[in-house]
């Protein structure tokens, strides 16, 4: 427990966080590329087409749509948790994490909407329908963009962090609405297929779970990249940043 707390405090140090993420990043990228390579092989080539519902090859859209949609929600929850950590423990790096998740989460939300729309045309006969699932997911996109815009509208960074954190926390109410929308309302969007047993045939599970793992890792890698830029942006005057930029870190880091 004591170790856990010390680690938590160390992560609050920009220098420590920057160094650690720099060490992790190559490994995360390696795992991401392997998983995505195998995942794409299965999702585009080695998996069967869907016959029961007559979807044919369009079932392959699922392997990017489901991970993107799942991440769009998980990313927002992670943002809200980081925002709470930032507000409660006055941890500046938590706010940097919130800011770093936002663009990647917004991209995932956009991809969920885009691939869903492209999938909807051949299966439902429409690009868009104002049903509960799609409308709440669109609202999620606006929450991400709203957070980014709100954060950018303050010249004082600590005020921007606090206002953005409050928006991130309040907006989390939308997540259960998205998740349960297919249960609460009669939506055009289908019900649960990943969390409900037996809803997804095993031959579609292999590519889906590989792509889920690969895209989760890709998400983590992108957030970490954005976070490292955010750390430098916020600590430009620090000596360790100058050392890092001039390439002197290795010498001073040991002393």
């Amino acid at each position: 427990m004591a170790n856990g707390w010390r680690w938590f405090h160390q992560l609050g140090s920009p220098k420590y966080l920057f160094q650690k993420t720099g060490q992790w990043l190559p490994w995360i990228w390696a795992a991401t590329l392997i998983l995505l390579g195998v995942g794409l092989y299965y999702s585009l080539w080695a998996s069967p087409i869907e016959v029961r519902q007559g979807q044919g090859h369009t079932v392959r859209i699922m392997y990017v749509h489901v991970p993107a949609a799942a991440l769009s929600m998980i990313a927002y929850i992670a943002m809200a948790i980081a925002a709470i950590v930032g507000l409660v423990w006055k941890m500046k790096m938590a706010f940097a994490v919130v800011r770093s998740i936002a663009p990647v989460g917004a991209a995932m939300t956009f991809l969920a909407l885009f691939t869903g729309s492209v999938w909807g045309k051949p299966t439902w006969g429409t690009w868009w329908e104002w049903d509960a699932r799609m409308t709440s997911e669109l609202l999620l996109l606006f929450l991400y963009l709203g957070y980014i815009a709100l954060h950018a509208s303050f010249s004082d960074r600590s005020k921007a962090d606090k206002a953005g954190a409050i928006l991130a926390i309040v907006g989390v109410i939308n997540i259960p609405i998205i998740y349960f929308s297919v249960k609460w309302w009669n939506t055009l969007h289908q019900g649960y297929s990943v969390t409900q047993k037996g809803a997804l045939a095993p031959e579609f599970q292999t590519p889906l779970f590989l792509m889920l793992a690969g895209i989760y890792l890709l998400f983590a890698a992108l957030v970490i990249m954005r976070l490292r830029a955010e750390i430098i942006l916020r600590n430009q005057k620090a000596r360790w940043v100058t050392d890092w930029a001039t390439g002197a870190t290795s010498k001073r880091g040991e002393s």
């Binding site: 585009l44 080539w45 080695a46 087409i49 044919g56 090859h57 369009t58 392959r60 859209i61 990017v64 749509h65 993107a68 663009p103 990647v104 991209a107 956009f110 991809l111 885009f114 691939t115 492209v118 999938w119 045309k121 051949p122 890709l218 992108l222 990249m225 954005r226 490292r228 830029a229 430098i232 942006l233 430009q236 940043v241 100058t242 890092w244 930029a245 001039t246």
Partner: protein, 69 residues
């Protein structure tokens, strides 16, 4: 998948399947490139700021150290 032809056309649905994957690729590679450029330009900025008053900075530090002795 039985042939390259089927792989490319995805049985009439090639445009739908491939546009989904292509858009995902574009957006994610776009983020990757954007974040990389952001860190690089920040590094450049830090370097140019550090380069200008470097001589004075070094002296100030040395002075502090010698006082401590």
């Amino acid at each position: 998948m039985s042939s390259w032809h089927e792989f490319i056309f995805m049985g009439k649905h090639g445009a739908y399947v491939w546009s989904s994957y292509l858009m995902s690729l574009i957006v994610l590679v776009g983020l990757f490139v954007g974040f990389r450029m952001m860190l690089k330009s920040l590094k450049k900025q830090v370097l140019s700021e550090a380069a200008a008053p470097d001589a004075q900075k070094q002296q100030a530090r040395k002075l502090k150290v010698s006082q401590a002795d």
